[in-house]
Symmetry: none
Subunit: 200 residues, 4 copies
């Protein structure tokens, strides 16, 4: 009879983001964030949070994902290979900062919370994956990638190193890195494959 309070929902998401935002001097890790603190910060009762989300991880998912997807769009106004390059670069830019650390922590939390992992897939991985595969397919159609490649494996191979660095805390995450990934993949690593591919 009484509709869900949009005001509470917003307050909860905002409180969560504020508590996680590293620009806030008292920011918390996802681990140290608690439903109790969110409720307090949002001026909302715990009951209200539990009514609409079933765990901390899900609140964090809701808080982070829409924002993240909006910030790393795929461009449709460019040739596919360039769009791919731009997309990887934009991901690198975002992941290099505090949102990257957040995403890493979120994926970390999902490792021991199957329901959160399910939502992560549904809300993040699957749409993103479809989008990425679509660009690679378009690049094949445009003739800038070989027609005999296994699109899904190649897509995975291009994005994986980004998440590898993000989750294993190695090296830089920047455009130089993502560009190198694409270039390296284009050439292949077999001896002699380079020169041939290179001149055209």
């Amino acid at each position: 009879m009484v509709a869900r309070s949009e005001q509470s929902r917003q307050a909860i998401l905002k409180a969560t983001m504020d508590l996680l935002d590293e620009r806030n001097p008292e920011a918390l890790s996802v681990r140290k964030l608690s439903i109790e603190k969110i409720a307090q910060e949002a001026g909302v009762s715990k009951t209200t949070i539990y009514r609409w989300w079933s765990s901390k991880a899900e609140v964090v998912l809701d808080t982070i994902l829409d924002n993240h997807l909006a910030r790393t769009p795929v461009r449709t106004d460019l040739p596919a290979l360039d769009a791919l390059r731009e997309h990887l670069a934009s991901l690198a830019t975002v992941y290099a900062g505090w949102e990257g650390r957040l995403m890493a922590q979120l994926i970390g939390e999902c490792q021991s919370d199957p329901e959160a992992m399910r939502i992560f897939h549904e809300r993040f991985f699957e749409p993103r994956s479809r989008t990425a595969i679509a660009i690679v397919e378009r690049a094949v159609e445009e003739g800038t990638l070989g027609s005999d490649i296994d699109v899904e494996t190649v897509t995975e191979t291009l994005y994986a190193p980004l998440y590898f660095r993000l989750l294993l805390h190695i090296g830089e995450i920047d455009r130089a890195f993502t560009d190198a990934l694409i270039d390296s993949a284009l050439l292949g690593i077999a001896p002699g494959s380079a020169p041939a591919a290179r001149d055209h």
Copy 2:
């Protein structure tokens, strides 16, 4: 003056492994594992655990890593490219089972525990990384990989998809997958980098 009790140390590591081992019907996730339970299972006091480890994550690191490294050795009796292929395949085999889930949870925990991440690097990532880079270098020397490749990037590119699948819970982790990774990398993805370019 009084030496550390090796007996206690072993009991703690064994208890931790038993509590995490999914073949045990009452197994726990890394998240639900607690210092308290380890102490109880090991017949040891909490003090003794805290004396030698500073967090649950570090106990788990100690428990898992040595065992894992021992189970996924790099073969030196094979040509480098074959050794690489075998190593990726052995990783896939291990990561496909409960030890993979454990490793994923462990990396997950490290996301919000910088000290644990530091130890993970020191104990796992860096030795492993050096070993992997060494095989790739050997393959270059043996002439089975191109001499102009960026060894470090290529190595990362070969291993990353394995961890991507492990941590994002996508697809199968098996030899078919790791073999495909190597084959795909060898060929490259540019149009025309196909068989013709490869042979001679």
Copy 3:
């Protein structure tokens, strides 16, 4: 908004009393009593105890005092000197048993817990002291005690030996003792203050 659970309160006080009651074969001293055990025995969480009491001593105070005051009332239906005699005798009776040992332990605990001592004064000593002084005043009014005595000092002098025996674990605590106290005080100890001086 949610009222305190009277049920929990009662369960905690009862559990405390049960654990301290020497008729219980596994009874504990106040020292060995712990919040943890009370919580367990009462089927209540530690949080609930800490929510309403700030230390073990305060729980014990709450448990003992009301009961004790109820068991050693001052009679108003007797002449004041007789009421005083009866009150001392009833204290002796109670203090001779396990409740006496409890009271002694409680006072013992308060020696190193100023807040508990403050509560002991507020809840026990001050009301009791006022009551006792009032009887002595009434006895003066009734003419059974001298009109020139210092009421407060005399009251203290009459009750002190009871606590002396209780706390220093000396001698018997019984009616013979308390009657002797009153008789001795009545007579005085100066030579010649004997019967001759008293009558007329």
Copy 4:
């Protein structure tokens, strides 16, 4: 074969006193004092303390009592009633300060440690009690106290209020108080007993 180290014994007693002495800014209550801290302060191992004493209370007893008895001697160069008055006054002086608080805490500890209480009796209460009774007996012999008094009860009555104030944290502990005790006891409290006794 190796004799008890008198040096260790002294170091332990001194450390205990230092840790309890309120003139030391970091002084501890008897409760917060621990064998561990004494060992540390004395530069001695816990084992050594446990070898010679069986609890914290006993160490404290050893530390305090000799000193205390030496500081509150009974004078033999005065008429007994004056010696009694002086003794009570000297006790009041000592008990008014930090040694009083210590003694109170010590007696408090003994409430839940029968062995400590036994030692307290043996080392403190019994000798002290015999001494006190002896003065009162001497006063009777000298004719300054009535010959018909019950010496033990009277002695107890005179000293009890001091300990009452000490242990219940009431009122002042000073010479005015102890003098009032003796005067009040001398006169008695029965109506009319005062005038008769007073003039002679």
